[in-house]
């Protein structure tokens, strides 16, 4: 067993994989990496299984010591990673010699950077997943964000890692966007025409009060339906629910599994990783697409992510 020592944790660093989908009956939301596309690519670059647990850092990274060495790959946002004062490039594997430390600073572009390790991060699984669910304190490393002094076990290196490289164009195609495509929500008809217009033309600002449970949006308020309170029902990932005051909230990976606010729209599956890379104060817009279009985009993204030939040189 090799180790990873947390010398400083950063703003919010958690262990994440693809989450534990399928436990709605228990009231458990899936959790998992906010940018599942980045996590997948980082693991594939290391020849790990796509959903191998990694560290998800948020807005500001930490410093990690590798007493036994490791091979790592950093993906997602650029947090200015360095080893011994030398910058570490994103999206390619790096050998870290025993006793070396990797340090991160504040983000230079998006919200989340993933530190993937060949062999993965070793934590006990909860309901089949290593991902941390912060609200309930379950899963991941002791159910919480990492702290200074934590010592985690990481995969031991047993084979040589090929210097895998992504093809040019792959990152451009999967780059997180600020215009999110949405389909109509189940209560879209409840909203007056004005609200639909505001949603499709308005510029919204991601509030500081956003986290893995949901992103609150400032900016134009949506005119809420005048109907009486709706009966609570299941809430899909990426649902855009509207509070009585007209504030839109995008439900995200650690979401409440049910809710009683009307949902005007839903971010499409192919754009969910973009939601995971939004920072507070980012300005975003919405663009409505048909269910058929959303499905075609999802299938195309899944095909690309499953194709070694199309992803790697």
């Amino acid at each position: 067993m090799s180790l990873l020592v947390v010398e400083s944790a950063g703003l919010q660093t958690t262990v994440q994989d693809f989450g534990r989908e399928g436990y709605g009956v228990l009231g458990v939301s899936a959790s998992g990496a906010a940018d599942a596309v980045a996590l997948r690519l980082g693991n594939l670059l290391l020849e790990n299984k796509a959903g191998t647990p990694a560290l998800e850092m948020t807005l500001m990274g930490g410093t990690f010591l590798f007493p036994d060495g490791a091979v790592i790959c950093l993906v997602g946002a650029n947090f200015g990673a360095q080893m011994d004062g030398k910058p570490l490039e994103l999206w390619r594997p790096h050998a870290i010699l025993p006793g070396k430390r990797v340090s991160f600073g504040p983000t230079k572009d998006f919200a989340r950077c993933y530190l993937c390790v060949a062999g993965g991060i070793g934590v006990a699984e909860f309901l089949g997943s290593a991902s941390t669910h912060l609200l309930s304190g379950l899963g991941g490393w002791e159910g919480r964000a990492l702290r200074k002094g934590d010592v985690l076990s990481i995969g031991r290196l047993e084979k040589n890692i090929r210097r895998r490289k992504l093809r040019t164009g792959v990152l451009e195609e999967l780059k997180p966007k600020k215009t999110l495509r949405v389909t109509r929500g189940p209560q879209a008809d409840w909203f007056p025409e004005e609200a639909q217009g505001t949603l499709s033309r308005g510029e919204f600002v991601v509030s500081e009060e956003s986290n893995r449970m949901g992103l609150r949006l400032d900016g134009p308020r949506l005119v809420a339906p005048s109907k009486p309170e709706m009966v609570s029902e299941g809430t899909p990932l990426g649902a855009i629910q509207v509070t009585p005051s007209g504030q839109a909230i995008i439900l995200f990976v650690e979401q409440q599994t049910t809710g009683g606010y009307p949902k005007i729209a839903n971010v499409i599956g192919a754009d969910l990783h973009s939601v995971g890379q939004l920072r507070p104060r980012d300005t975003i817009q919405f663009e409505e697409v048909s269910l058929a279009k959303a499905r075609a985009l999802w299938i195309e993204q899944q095909r690309l992510l499953a194709s070694e030939e199309r992803l790697f040189l």
Binding site: E21, G22, Y23, G24, V25, L26, G27, V28, A30, F126, L127, H133, L135, S136, G137, L138, T183, R184, G185, P186, E229, V231, S232, E233, G234, T235, P236, L237, G238, A239, Q256, T257, T258, G259, K263, N266, V267, I268, G269, L291, A294, R295, W298, I299, Q302
Partner: protein
């Protein structure tokens, strides 16, 4: 039965419009049939009062195919045995530090706190579904006299085990989480434990009763 696309990968199945046992019985029967004869492309099922949210593998099936299959399941679901409802007893220490909103609720209703407590524990509740957080069961129906809106400003942290009321519902908070329900008591039981089988003390379809206990009983060490 009514279908409504909820997202590009999720479909809502409505089996009624109002909170009550009729619609919920159908929800539970369809859920049981889907658990007994699982469909490979279903990724998650989220039951609620009158509906099920079905999340599916959109690369394999589309909304129309999911809808057709669920209609076929629903036509057979009424033959599912409803099964014996489990009775779960939850001891609660009402009021004081454990139920900081009890006096307010009583004052608003113009009744004594003792009356609020009595109205709360006199009923046997039905567990409609689990949502919000792992193990958080929506229990109903609360006595009409106690129906109260949620707090204007939710608490940043509600202690684990807190018993709250909101509208015609009551629930026990399994974890220390934010919460907007009015708190009238607290249970010493651990509602959700990952090292226990089943993890949650209360499951969908269970019957739940509350039993008043004293502070001394609350603090007494428990066995088992």
């Amino acid at each position: 039965m009514r279908f409504q696309a909820a997202s590009d990968q999720a479909l809502l199945v409505y089996l009624g419009k109002e909170i009550g046992s009729a619609a919920h019985e159908r929800v539970v029967q369809l859920l049981r049939l889907l658990q007994q004869e699982p469909l490979a492309w279903i990724r998650n099922i989220q039951p609620a009062y009158c509906s099920l949210l079905i999340t599916f593998d959109a690369a394999t099936v589309d909304h129309a195919e999911v809808q057709a299959k669920l209609a076929e399941y629903e036509s057979r679901a009424d033959k599912m045995p409803s099964g014996k409802a489990r009775l779960v007893e939850v001891p609660v220490c009402y009021g004081g530090e454990f139920g900081p909103d009890l006096d307010d609720v009583a004052a608003q209703r113009g009744m004594l706190p003792e009356k609020v407590v009595e109205l709360h524990f006199a009923r046997t509740y039905h567990a409609y579904f689990l949502g919000f957080a792992p193990g958080f069961a929506y229990l109903g129906d609360l006595a009409e006299e106690l129906a109260a809106p949620r707090l204007q400003t939710p608490r940043k942290e509600v202690a684990a085990g807190s018993v709250g009321i909101a509208g015609r519902q009551t629930a026990v908070y399994p974890f220390a989480t934010p919460g907007g329900w009015r708190l009238i008591g607290r249970t010493p039981l651990e509602i959700f434990r990952k090292d226990r089988e089943p993890m949650g003390l209360i499951a969908i379809g269970d019957q739940v009763r509350f039993r008043p206990i004293t502070k001394a009983e609350f603090l007494a060490p428990r066995q088992g």
